[in-house]
Symmetry: D2
Subunit: 365 residues, 4 copies
């Protein structure tokens, strides 16, 4: 293990690695409220933040208080993070819409649990559409990252802060309870590796040599409000052009493409191996950015694969974005589990075999 | 005008007609918090509810308090309503997810204003995806109705309560600020015309002759939580099969189909007239239920029309559901305004003419 | 038992008798939040209020929400009540100060438990000074009633509403957990026996024939604010002159006067009997109104008795008001228990005997 | 001016001097919510705290959130402060009672404004009884300090932290709006001059070598709760014996003693000078600790002066404590103004002359 301020290799639980990564990424303010399965984030930060002077870590009165504190901290130019799970994230929807309108960067982490409602504390991917289509009101988007390993969870903390600040927009890591609880080896970047300076628009107190900085999300005149919307839409266009990330495994020679993110993608990789053993040519398409979604890459894949199978830990949410990309050119099927249940590689394999049989019989006819 | 308890014809503002309709529909509990452009609902109810004994009308501490009071009232079997606009609706996302999981009926009205953020108080349709894709966490759906006139606003209050109670699911009326403020002639159904009895599952106190009723949204065991999700998904399937509503104008002989809901549909009707005067064969497809969305009817329309133009007062939200229905068989274009701006019939006409020219040149080539 | 709307004799628990009395007294609005030892009040009202059309009973989000709803209801002219115990009453201090300044009548019931802090759920009289000296900010007073039996608890509901409305000031019943839980026979007044009409100052909507009614507690100009204070002080003077209530038992021939309110007075009555059996001439002075305090009657008593013993279920709070009345002319001693402990008659007797011995030895010397 | 970390002489506004003193006194956590006339405290801290690493300064969602954050910070052993004015302090009464029961040190500053209610923003002393008699529920006491100059305001920050930590009890500085706004020369102690170490009872995480630390305010068993009360009462007894502070000016040769604290004492000093010019022998008795109150010193003064005049910016609150001390041996009169009005030296002089005349005529008769 290297020194405390340098890069480290450690065996860590996802939630703790996330917290440690935030400290190393120079997070200046964390506001949260405990909820399973991510309470370890706050606990870890409470214990370790004192070794990072200038880092505020605070358990607020509620998720609503917390997200509005993030608004305030981000408005003052601080690198701020908030974490929760589904019910807590739902409580933040007003705040997130306000931040998106005010163009404030921050990192929001949703360690998903099974819903809807208070639900269960087991892992889920049921908050995809909330994250990606905008759970709050108005036309806005979050940058959404979907890590599939503890290492990627750490990397996405750095990437999330970077994208949020570059584009002045909240970024969300859409993780899940299993990722938060699993232990994996992880390389931690050194402290100080992610530069930060107070942005020029921050409300840090007006000096004599510049006009007053104002951060707000209200524009009474519709013409002005529409101009603000055009600024946002232009930003989202830039994101879609520049920041799409995905991983493709064995897609060149695949007949059937599995499409899955996060934990589901790990299961799919195992299912892909099982299918290949049975001679079925299966590839894996893994969106890493859920917004912007890798639409163009999927559309290209539709030229070579014969069918898509979307695998999610929900009732079928991302599958809509897959269908929007494929535009009816190939069948897009779905399989998944809900309420905290995790699909097994064998369940996915069974579905693959069923699809493969269908493709063969169609080829014969 | 007929007698006070019978049916009435009146000239009324949308917000007030909505409130009066709720009283006549036998609403027993209203909880809300003021926000433009729908504060008249609460004001009207505060003034007139005392003439309806047994009707509780209360301004709560916040939208969060209000939606949780709706949860409580609905859980006790009362016919309950809540109204707000974008920012307030965002604050209710946790509560709505809880109600959907607990299968509680209630009527939620979103009189949309321009967002995101605090935004503007002018009309908008920017909350379509929040309403339709589930703004809260987990796999759940609201029944979503989109009135295009004050009369339909009134009718949807009755329909909304009916569907909510029949399916034990929150229903939302997705209106907008213009509809809330405009005055139109409206026929009001008589009091007592919508039957209501306390449902057998309501938590009204345990008598000796039945087991205890329990209303909750938490299921610690994943297997149990998944079963609850299967119940919900089965309900949504039934909704999609049984409760789809849409209106089609001149679609049989149309080359270009306008697709629009609510206020946009009124503008499109005018644009359609203008286009027909110019010899362009334009039809109007108006979804009345936004969830369940009229996917099948749109898919059928794709067999006869040559192109679709979706018109919305947002950056393009329903257009995704149109594209999911059309599946790439026809071009689906979008035009719209944001931030409280309303597209004019002439703007829509210009877009129609541009598309018509493109269709002609494509036909020639 | 007489008919449902007439007067009744029943055997009832204090908390339930209180709730039933409020319904019979024509309470129109109740707002509360559960806390032991008075949660039965809300439960009883939730069950029985539906039989009293026009009565709103609501569990609010918090005690703060509840007291501000009382402010609103009282401002609109409704007869409103709120109940809680120590911690909840503390949360209402801002609201109570606002109501006192705005001259709003309402009935507040504190069923005391042992404090400070979250404390214990056992009975106490630890909130005397909070109730009597003004727990909130600024110069204001509550009318404070101290019932010593379930019957008096019922009677004080009627008296509390009456005084609150006559003087336009919040009134508080200072009960305790034992009184709330004990069962006694109680005569319940009939419904409709306490007249109520909407007061002329209520904010019920401005008709054409009077100026707008305004209810507020803010006066930016100090001169105006001082005038409002003078109005309040004049009211408190009138209360002290007109509304003092106390009970005296055997005071004419007493050497030692026990001074006690509420439950303590019941214990003292037993101790008085025990002392008299031992030949000690003991009387009982029981303040019924704690504000206005029976200062003049106590001062008169100081001319005939030789010593006072104040008995309280706290560390000695009312004893200050006794001393202020006696002004050093006679010794004023104190005995009491804290934290939910109830002094026994024997403990009081022991203290009486000790004082009697001291008086005798002083007489001899 | 000396170096940044040494002692300074500066001309400062009271609120800012208070904030600077807190930083120099090693305050580690400040939580607050803005309210006139003390919002400069939060503003000053927000600007200057970043130069004091490890100091958390946070504007909470409400005064209730803020005081509970103080509970948490104090429980973890941090030196914590909160400031507000009347309405905000009223909202903290539950929290203060909890802290007193849990024996948590912290510094609370009330920069009083005219009440009751929202009142006015002008200075007042209307919260004396709330501060001194316990505005919250249960038998507890705050240590209450009453500065009469900006210098004393600074000194009381240090003294307040010291007493709070020595006695493990919240301490309050009872200032007023005039003191917060006035500019005076002030000597600021150097940083580091007030030692602080994490107390052994703090909940800092359990190491192996000591049992778990628990901080709470709930004791279900009455016997246990009473023991906790006895611990508190013993502490208050020690405070009354050891920590009483007052200032006496010209009391030895006085016929009439003015009794006043804070700003009123400054006015009385001027009135005393005016009276002496007229040959009336007037002294000034200024309580510096309002709790513990200088009862014994006042009782001793009653042996030499002929009458007392209590001067307060309220309807007469401290006068009760003066009367309790004097026990009827001398007349105790009161004069004051309310609602943000400040009595002038001439008003006080007029009252003095009236009393002097009465004393003379009594002497003659």
């Amino acid at each position: 293990m290297t020194s405390g301020t340098g890069g480290d290799i450690r065996l860590m639980k996802g939630n703790e690695a996330l917290a440690e990564a935030a400290l190393r990424a120079g997070m200046q303010a964390y506001f949260g409220y405990p909820i399973t399965p991510q309470s370890e984030v706050l606990e870890y930060l409470a214990l370790h933040a004192p070794q990072h002077p200038g880092t505020v870590v605070l358990q607020a009165e509620s998720e609503i208080a917390a997200i509005n504190m993030v608004f305030g901290a981000a408005g003052a130019g601080a690198r701020a993070m908030i974490t929760s799970s589904g019910p807590g994230i739902s409580l933040m929807q007003e705040g997130l819409s306000y931040m998106a309108c005010a163009q404030l960067p921050a990192l929001v982490v949703n360690v998903q649990r099974g819903g809807p409602g208070l639900g269960t504390i087991q892992p889920s991917q049921g908050d995809y559409q909330q994250a990606v289509k905008g759970g709050g009101h108005g036309d806005y988007r979050l940058i959404v990252l979907a890590p599939a390993s503890v290492q990627e969870l750490v990397d996405h903390v750095f990437l999330g802060f970077q994208l949020a600040e570059r584009y002045r927009n909240p970024a969300m890591i859409l993780a899940d309870g299993a990722l938060g609880q699993m232990m994996e080896k992880v390389a931690l970047p050194p402290i100080g590796s992610l530069a930060h300076s107070t942005p020029p628009w921050a409300t840090t107190g007006k000096p004599k040599d510049r006009p007053r900085n104002v951060v707000l999300s209200v524009y009474i005149q519709s013409e002005r409000m529409e101009r603000q919307n055009l600024v946002l839409q232009e930003k989202y266009r830039a994101l879609r052009e520049t920041e799409v990330r995905c991983e493709q495994l064995g897609m060149e020679e695949a007949d059937i493409a599995l499409v899955a993110f996060g934990l589901s993608a790990r299961i799919c990789q195992k299912a892909m191996d099982l299918a290949r053993e049975k001679g079925i040519r299966v590839g894996l398409f893994r969106p890493i950015t859920l917004y912007p979604f890798p639409t163009a890459a999927l559309a290209r894949a539709a030229s070579t694969v014969q069918a898509f199978l979307t695998v999610e830990m929900n009732a079928g949410q991302m599958v809509e974005d897959v269908r929007l990309a494929v535009e009816g050119r190939r069948p897009v099927e779905f399989t998944g589990r809900m309420g905290g249940m995790i699909p097994s590689p064998d369940e996915v394999l069974a579905k693959i075999e069923e699809m493969a049989a269908r493709l063969r019989s169609r080829a014969r006819s």
